[in-house]
């Protein structure tokens, strides 16, 4: 089953008060592609992802062209800190997330199996009864990732925090995401590790208020462009 989505964003702009965060963004992602989004802190990546989810008061046009029919969207939010005392264990947390998903209302048994499988793939099965307070930052990130995978998304949007994924976690994530891609899903991955991006991305876009560059990593991740991304202390 190859159901992904072609995403087209035209002239997307967005302000918080006087602060213009996104300006005339034009962006395209295709089904079966991993499209990485990079850019400096505060460049507007998270805001961009939220716009795709209809979570912002944006101007401009965002079109989702589903290959078959409207599919499942998975979202991994950029949460760096979760309360130590959150009185929920891993399984309950995932169940809480999934039950809000239209496709899964009333099919608990089926997803129970998928939850197990997903936690297993993420090497978290032995911690499914752990409370959030007992997990490390990297493990919490895996749980956030797990909830986005159930049911199988045809569009996955990951907003990765700078610091919280450990190395083995990153490998597991990569493998699973590659599997989704093979199934024709669209993956939009906000990423901070440029070295990884070079390896995994089919397309890469740099967002710093507007699209600074976009294309295949090989051709756009050159020295000149990379220097443009990360604001030097002088600003320009």
């Amino acid at each position: 089953m190859a159901n992904g989505v072609n995403i087209k964003v035209e002239n997307l702009s967005l302000s918080f008060g006087k602060n213009e965060v996104l300006q005339n963004i034009n962006f395209e992602a295709k089904a079966g592609e991993i499209h990485c989004v990079i850019g400096p802190n505060g460049g507007g990546k998270t805001t961009f992802a939220k716009s795709l989810l209809g979570q912002t008061y944006h101007n401009g046009k965002i079109t989702f062209e589903w290959i078959e029919k409207r599919g499942i969207v998975g979202y991994v939010p950029q949460i760096i800190n979760i309360d130590k005392t959150l009185p929920v264990n891993v399984l309950d947390f995932i169940a809480l997330c999934i039950q809000k998903r239209p496709a899964f209302l009333g099919v608990d048994k089926k997803f129970k199996k998928q939850v197990d499988e997903t936690l297993d793939k993420l090497e978290m099965k032995n911690k499914s009864k752990y409370l959030f307070s007992e997990l490390s930052g990297g493990e919490r990130q895996r749980v956030l990732f797990a909830q986005a995978l159930i049911p199988n998304p045809q569009l996955l949007i990951l907003d990765e925090p700078m610091n919280s994924v450990d190395k083995s976690g990153a490998e597991v994530f990569s493998r699973i995401i590659d599997g989704l891609k093979q199934n024709g899903a669209t993956v939009i991955w906000i990423h901070h590790d440029l070295e990884q991006v070079q390896k995994i991305a089919d397309k890469v876009s740099c967002i710093n208020k507007t699209v600074v560059f976009s294309g295949e990593p090989k051709s756009v991740m050159n020295e000149k462009n990379l220097l443009k991304i990360f604001s030097s202390r002088q600003g320009e």
Binding site: G42, L53, R233
Partner: protein, 211 residues
């Protein structure tokens, strides 16, 4: 094929988005802890009193720094626009609506910093210190901007007095401010303040082995 136009947010609550909010609320409302940090090789050699904005700060602290890093330039521009006068805190927050001074929702979540300006102009040396004291130190630490430049006789050219750059941004988890008439590197460092260093494009290239 099914084409869907993603509409901007409205009052109407869609189920999928409720899920997203739940995840977000769980994260934000339940407070903040420091996560166990992974070891990352340092890309820049920092001095002992400096910290890396992207490796050593996280969550709200990183957000506030990002805003301050942009705000220092706005403040300098306003300083000129206002006829060589430093903008007051209320001008920054109310007239200019500048983050992180503006007291909006984000400001509340990030620790409700109370900002104070110490104006220390002397002759043609213009020096301002904006200190932000965190109301909720679990949410974020304390910040300080030290902005300093001098004017040449013709008044048009200026640059930093001590340093390459006309400003520095400082961070301290615990609140201990040197005597306000005597705030400088020399007094901040012993009080536990750290200068925050932003990562540059050159550092990124080094990390990729391109330079």
């Amino acid at each position: 094929m099914e084409t869907v136009i993603i509409q901007p947010k409205r009052q109407k609550f869609e189920i999928l988005f409720m899920l997203i909010s739940i995840v977000a609320i769980v994260g934000v409302a339940s407070g903040l802890i420091a996560i166990s940090k992974i070891q990352k090789e340092e890309s820049v050699k920092l001095k002992s009193y400096q910290i890396d904005a992207f490796l050593d700060l996280e969550g709200n602290d990183q957000g506030i720094f990002t805003d301050l890093h942009a705000a220092v330039r706005v403040i300098e521009a306003l300083h000129i626009e206002y006829g060589e006068r430093w903008p007051t805190v209320s001008e920054l927050s109310t007239t200019e609506q500048l983050s992180p001074f503006v007291e909006d929702l984000v400001w509340k979540e990030r620790g409700k910093h109370k900002w104070t300006l110490f104006n220390q102009d002397q002759g043609n040396v213009h020096r301002a210190i904006y200190v932000g004291k965190s109301f909720d130190e679990n949410a974020a630490g304390n910040f300080l901007i030290l902005s300093e430049h001098f004017h040449t006789i013709d008044g048009s050219y200026y640059k930093g007095v001590n340093k390459e750059f006309p400003f520095s941004i400082w961070y301290s988890k615990k609140w201990e401010l040197p005597n306000s008439s005597n705030i400088s590197d020399g007094t901040l460092i012993p009080s536990g303040w750290k200068e925050i260093i932003a990562r540059t494009g050159y550092d990124e290239l080094k990390r990729l082995g391109r330079q």
